[in-house]
Symmetry: C2
Subunit: 107 residues, 2 copies
DNA sequence: ATAGCTATTTGACAATGCAAGGTAGCTTGC
DNA sequence: GCAAGCTACCTTGCATTGTCAAATAGCTAT
């Protein structure tokens, strides 16, 4: 898959996933991988950035099967950002799809 | 608009526009601007890259209202690339939209 | 000649995905 | 005990690609 398509969309997908319920990083990678191919080295820096920007808060929990997990919880600011990003994504992908259709029609 | 969304999609839009008919750079910028906000400094380097990659051929034509225009014409390789990119875009945007829907439903 | 439009090009910059590698806890089998 | 393999987290350096700002230049109208 063209990795360029992912730019910007991954932030949306991460925010959306964490809003549903608190998740830890590794789990989040697996969740998003169900939809698109994505690398751990992409997600962890993104989680760090979104936490720095106060869209997430974090806490640690012990795991029954490995090292402790860092859970991410979305903040009010994070929800606002998610809503904005989702609107922008809708507008963007509608614009692109309509444009592609128009280019099919007229010469 | 989130400028990151554009990465990768612009190449698709440019290929699609030039396949419809030969266009010159400035005209192409105006055409794509009907759909999404885009900068000249984004399009010209992209045209150069796609020409280097043999997806486009170019020729000059005098203009009745300004300096000569460089027209871009798509090659067979360009059409193949366009078809591939368009398939990838469809798959990608379907995956993302389905993922966003799923995240709405289950908790 | 001055302003404004058309048209192309370039260079420095910023955002972000990825490969690769590192650290560390836990479980299983020898 | 200890080596292998999985889970889990994190970082560094790199490549790609869009953005901004500016330079160049032809043409038209005032």
């Amino acid at each position: 898959m063209n990795s360029q398509f992912k730019k910007g969309v991954l932030e949306l997908m991460v925010l959306k996933t964490v809003r549903r319920r608190d998740v830890y990083g590794y789990e989040l990678v697996e969740t998003i991988r169900q939809a698109i191919d994505v690398n751990e080295g992409t997600i962890y820096p993104l989680l760090k950035r979104l936490t720095n920007e106060r869209y997430f808060e974090t806490y640690l929990r012990e795991s029954p099967e490995g090292p402790p997990r860092k859970y991410y919880h979305i903040t009010a600011a994070g929800i606002l950002q998610l809503d904005a990003l989702e609107r922008e994504w809708d507008e963007f992908h509608n614009s692109v799809c309509e444009f592609l259709k128009e280019m099919n029609e007229r010469g």
